[in-house]
Amino acid sequence: MAVSSGRSQRRSSADPSTRAGKGRATGTSSAAKGSIDGLLATKEIVVACGPGGVGKTTTAAAAAVMAAVRHGSKVLVLTVDPAKRLADALGLDGIGNTEHRVSDDAFRAAGLKPRGQLWAAMLDTKESWDELIRRQAPDEQSRDEILANPLYQNISGKFVQSHDYIAMERLFEIHAEGDYDLIVVDTPPTRNALDFLDAPQRMADFFSSRLLRWLIVPYRSRLVNVATKPFYQIADRILGTEFLADISEFFILFQSMYDGFVERSESVGRLLSDRRTTFVVVSTLEAVPLREAEFFAEQLASRKLHLGAIVLNKVLPDYLRGSEGAAAAESLRDRADELAVQLGPVVAAAGAAPGDRGQIARVLTEVADSYLNFQMVALREMEERSLLSVAPDVLATVPFFDTDIFDLAGLVRLGEQIWE
């Protein structure tokens, strides 16, 4: 364990089977390199990232389900996205901040018999911050004062930036407790996910900042110091003295926890670059998301973070790409009327329709047009794929599913596609 504060031991009653499972999952694995299977068997943390709308949440959930079903691992899927997508994907309502086990009944209903366990949790920013304060506060009084501070309530509940840090913090905390063989994390869309990578470092910088020391200097001595005077003057004019005093009070309260915070956020940063952590970039083959995914992969490389795989999602079926299909579609469209005449009797014989020729011709034209339309999209996808600028160890392709994936069976169907 990278860091184990005394407090992380508080759940000392971790069941022994978990530890046994852990040894299996993390030991020098003989799993084949170059497969999602291998990644999930080897790594302890898998971070699914990528642009929005590409099926990242579903992919993360599918990977987690597969690891639970096939590897017999105890797996947690943690969504850090503000929207309740994971709950949708797992067909569960109202999973909250606490980890929640997906019941065996749910698996049975999907015709599955998992060897392991699947747990799910969603990140509640406010609740996670409160937990962190309770853990880090030196005494009950500071704890209560911080929790009641209006500034704290705003930071913890409303503002975007605090979300990124607490997500990583929570991941760290769960990992440090050692209750799971594998934690699969879903992240906000790419550019936000970059914030999310930087969040631990930013938090560490913030709490060790010299400016922060200035701010918690007692008010009367501020205006004496030549170096800091302009800063206070401006801050006073913008924010008002009263608000500034609130801020000071808040940070003076926080002061008792600085060291703990800096240490923890550094540990969180270390965990992300640990060998046991890997990143899986999910994208579709559309131009805009794919460029974002590439950008993200490059950022991972420049931060020396491990790119485990790229998953290309919602790829249109192969039959849309053949040149034969295009030729057939052209002739269907050009000869629709003539074909309709010849097809009339057999179509009528096949049952349903009265075999009206105009109708058959319209159907043929629609079929041809629709094929050509989708072929255009499919060709673009193939072109984009060949232009992909990063070469990961694992490049998985998931076909377009014509129905939504919203249950365990669907997740397994998707999982099987990325498995090999």
Binding site: R191, L212, I238, E324, Q359, R362, A368, N373, F374, V377
Partner: protein, 322 residues
């Protein structure tokens, strides 16, 4: 902020429009198209990118933009939000502090203040936008806003700051911002969605949170990438019959090729559309009746670039009755 909505002005007659949506639904495309449409109708328009991905200019085939707005098409200006530059401008304009460049490393001080005083980043963004709208430098400011998960924090920032800061300059600033944001004839929010399960759920959730947590009005829901209906009821029966062995065999013979994949593709298109229709019904039920829904077709030929922006602008214009 409960119950039915007050009627809001037509989209392009507003002064400030935030366009949001779940990632990947075409939020930037719709924002770009709306700005283009308004400019083609003779308005002086600013499109501002807040997400800072730096690609909104690409939707007009223009080079990347910065904080200082630039006219990229006649009557259409573009800028990229930069909270630090916004602070600089604010200090210069509002506080008349010309020496800003010299207070040590401004960037660091700013970063610090922004992190220490929550909502500063958000307020500088919303403040700059409200400022542009109030000063009437533009008839319409279109904001390519953060994704739906993050927009609430931004739109609620002035109110949150207002609750925290009782007096001082910031307080008087948030007061006028709130006035603009709360006026349904000035400000509106457009939620972009696709007829898919997750985006629909997220849009309904967004609508609820906008109503409960902000003072901004949801002006429209834009449903993007709506697939065409291939067949009417009778045509669908013909289509099914065509897929039977005998008709398909004959068809293959007549065109001297395997038409199977063509029917497969059409079947895929029909199923896709059908699932999407179900999601659309859920969406319509989940959104207040007074909020108009605008439908944009799926574009097969191109997925981005000015050509796409023009096509979407045209469709949007039709939906708005122009």
């Amino acid at each position: 902020m409960t119950g039915a909505q007050a009627p809001s002005s037509p989209l392009v007659d507003l002064k400030l429009v935030f366009v949001t949506g779940k990632g990947g639904v075409g939020k930037t495309t719709v924002a770009s198209a709306l700005a283009l449409l308004a400019s083609l109708r003779g308005k002086r328009v600013l499109i501002c990118e807040v997400d800072a991905k730096g690609d909104v200019a690409g939707f007009y085939e223009a080079p990347p933009t910065g904080f200082r707005e630039r006219e990229i098409l006649p009557g259409l200006f573009a800028m990229t939000m930069d909270t630090e530059a916004s602070l600089r401008e604010y200090l210069k304009l509002q506080l008349r502090i010309p020496v800003v460049g010299r207070i040590g490393p401004l960037a660091k001080a700013f970063d610090f203040v922004a992190t220490a005083a929550p909502g500063v980043r958000e307020i500088l963004t919303v403040g700059k936008l409200c400022y542009e709208a109030r000063e009437r430098h533009f008839d319409l400011v279109v904001v390519d806003a953060p994704a739906s998960g993050h927009i609430i924090g931004q739109l609620a920032a002035p109110q949150a700051i207002n609750d925290l800061v009782k007096v001082g300059l910031i307080r008087s600033q948030t007061d006028w911002m709130l006035k603009i944001l709360s006026d349904p004839h000035s400000t509106g929010l457009v939620a972009v969605c696709t007829p898919e399960e997750m985006p629909v759920n997220e849009t309904i959730e967004l609508a609820r949170r906008v109503r409960e947590e902000t003072t901004v009005q949801l002006s429209a829901v834009v449903v993007n990438r709506v697939l065409p209906e291939l067949f009417g009821r009778q045509e669908e029966a013909v289509f099914h019959a065509l897929g039977e062995p005998e008709p398909l065999g004959l068809l293959n013979e007549l065109v001297n090729a395997n038409a199977g994949p063509l029917l497969d593709a059409a079947r895929l298109a029909v199923t896709m559309r059908r699932t999407r229709t179900t999601h659309l019904e859920v969406l319509r039920r989940g959104i207040d009746e007074s909020v108009p829904m605008l439908y944009l077709p799926y574009l097969f030929t191109r997925s981005h670039g000015l050509r796409t922006t023009r096509q979407v602008a045209a469709s949007l214009g039709e939906e708005l009755g122009y």
